[in-house]
């Protein structure tokens, strides 16, 4: 197996008021792997994901992403972030730009593509997520599922080495969850390295190479999906699965 693309060792995040957001969380994601993080609300799984591209600063431990070492105070986050795509629960599309402009802004400003190259790349990606006809539409005119697919395409436009998904379907109406998961499955099958925080156990079971269980700021255990769901290793995981799978 390749060297891990993301290697997180015993990281800790302590908030200014003293509470611990993360304690002793560790994981690694290898190239081409799909890792799903599950856990109860407030367990720190979103916080953990957000440390991978420096959106959350850590107060201890070490993170290595694609060769970049993130210390407690990292200087060069920009070059790291170009290699890490991020998809948010609330989509966070730029409302003043069309779908096409949402996709081409960063490639033009950060990678220095000219307008034609960026637009070409954007159209190809919009077509890939099934929204070729929505290029000139503003986010407000899109449904939740369409917005999240545009957001995924926007992250892909930077041609990242790894994609992070922070509860990508949690803000969606139930009938729109499928279309987003479909796009994510397709990405996984193309060999994209992915790290996904989600409550969609079906997705975890079907797509993940490994599933990690987090509770109270700790990464408690990890396993292949079959074993993870059928033979939970710890009592807390058994309790959690009992609640979400009933």
């Amino acid at each position: 197996m390749n060297a891990p693309l993301i290697k997180v060792t015993d990281i800790e995040k302590r908030y200014p008021n003293g509470t611990l957001g993360l304690k002793r969380a560790s994981l690694s994601v290898s190239s081409g792997e799909v890792v799903v993080i599950v856990g109860p609300s407030g367990s720190g799984k979103s916080t953990l994901l957000r440390t991978f591209n420096g959106l959350e600063a850590i107060t201890g431990g070490e993170i290595v992403v694609d060769g970049h070492v993130l210390h407690q105070r990292s200087a060069d986050l920009r070059s790291l972030r170009q290699r890490v795509g991020m998809v948010f629960q609330q989509f966070n599309l730029f409302p003043h730009l069309t779908a096409l402009q949402n996709l081409s802004l960063a490639p033009m400003k950060v990678l220095g593509l000219n307008a034609a190259e960026a637009a070409e790349r954007a159209r190809a990606l919009l077509a890939k997520v099934g929204l070729a006809d929505k290029a000139d539409v503003y986010p407000a005119q899109l449904s939740g599922g369409q917005m999240q697919r545009v957001a995924i395409a926007r992250a892909l436009a930077m041609q990242p080495a790894v994609m992070l998904f922070d509860e990508p379907t949690s803000a969606l109406d139930p009938e729109m969850v499928g279309e987003v998961l479909e796009v994510m499955k397709q990405l996984a099958s193309e060999g994209m390295t992915m790290c996904v925080v989600t409550h969609e156990m079906g997705f975890a079971r079907a797509v993940a190479d490994r599933v990690i269980f987090m509770d109270r700021g700790e990464s408690l255990c990890e396993d292949e999906p079959e074993a993870f769901f059928s033979a939970p290793k710890t009592e807390r995981l058994r309790l959690f699965l009992g609640q979400v799978l009933k």
């Binding site: 972030r81 966070n92 730029f94 802004l105 960063a106 400003k109």
Partner: protein
């Protein structure tokens, strides 16, 4: 149908109340000993006065009924002379004048009167100040939300000091102290004082507009590798502008009104022009009502534009 009819009734009531207040004012003004001379106001808006006419010899003046011609009778001897078609007269009926005294003015080219000249100066000062105030406000507003502590400190200090002291005091300091040190003209002292004052308020408007943009926008932009400056320029400011524009326009209405304070620096803006006309005519009532209406026309036009802007921006949400 009935709802819209009752609305009209309420509007009629509003009109009646305003009419009542107006007539009360009118009756009150009738009871004091004051001669209204509205007919003398237009010459201070647009004037046709040309060269001055001087008395050819010592003598008494007799004015015609319409006040546009006068006849002089010499003090010694029987000389008389009649001047016709005067634009304005500077003497009263029966006055004794001496050779060389100013009798009045001949008609000349139609030009802006004192009040209109003052209005133009008010517009110039307001427009220039608005441009500088917006630049200053943008910089200070960005400073308020910047990560750098020095930028935060300086812009917070600026906003607090300026908002915590009266504009009139700031104008005095700018004119008498800074103006003297830097040899500023009254005009530029006024423009700078107004720019600094309004800039502090615009800084707060800019700060509020930026902070109203959801945090997720910054996170998304930075996750894509955009720098802080690129995030501000391409993602945050375009969205903040929609929130900033309406209060910014409101602040520029305030600026026009605040500009009346520069009249303390011997700058003949609209307010100072009003004072000059009052002191030369003794018509304070007519002049100040006229000046108020002129300000109202300026600010009314601006707030009309503001309302149009607000509607347009609301429609886009």
């Amino acid at each position: 149908m009935s709802a819209s009819r009752s609305r009209w009734l309420w509007h009629a009531l509003s009109f009646a109340i305003v009419a009542l207040l107006g007539s009360g004012l009118y009756i009150a003004s009738k009871r004091i000993d004051y001669t209204w001379r509205w007919d003398r106001i237009p010459q201070y808006l647009l004037s046709q006065e040309g060269e001055e006419v001087h008395a050819p010899f010592d003598g008494f003046v007799a004015l015609s009924e319409d006040g546009h011609s006068l006849t002089m009778t010499a003090l010694k001897g029987a000389d008389t002379t009649t001047l016709d078609g005067l634009a304005s007269v500077a003497v009263a009926n029966g006055d004794l004048v001496f050779q060389g005294d100013t009798l009045g003015k001949l008609p000349g080219q139609l030009r802006a009167g004192t009040l209109i000249t003052g209005l133009i100066l008010t517009l110039e000062i307001s427009a220039l100040s608005l441009v500088f105030a917006m630049l200053l406000g943008l910089v200070a507003g960005l400073g308020r939300v910047a990560k750098n502590p020095t930028a935060q400190d300086l812009s917070a200090l600026y906003v607090e000091v300026i908002r915590g002291t009266p504009l009139l005091v700031q104008i005095f300091i700018m004119y008498f102290f800074i103006g003297t040190v830097l040899k500023l003209s009254a005009f530029w002292a006024g423009v700078i004082a107004l720019s600094i004052f309004t800039g502090a308020y615009i800084a707060e408007i800019v700060r509020a507009g930026i902070q109203a943009v959801p945090k997720g926008q910054t996170e998304a932009a930075q996750s894509l590798g955009l720098s802080a400056a690129q995030t501000m320029r391409h993602v945050i400011l375009p969205q903040a502008t929609r929130r900033i524009l309406p209060p910014l326009a409101g602040q520029s209405i305030n600026l026009i009104k605040d500009s009346s304070l520069v009249s303390v620096m011997a700058l003949t803006d609209l307010t100072k022009a009003g004072r000059e006309v009052v002191s030369s005519t003794f018509m304070p009532f007519e002049v100040w009502f006229t000046v108020a209406v002129m300000y109202l026309v300026l600010t009314g036009a601006l707030s009309f534009v503001v309302r149009k802007l607000e509607l347009r921006f609301m429609a886009r949400d």
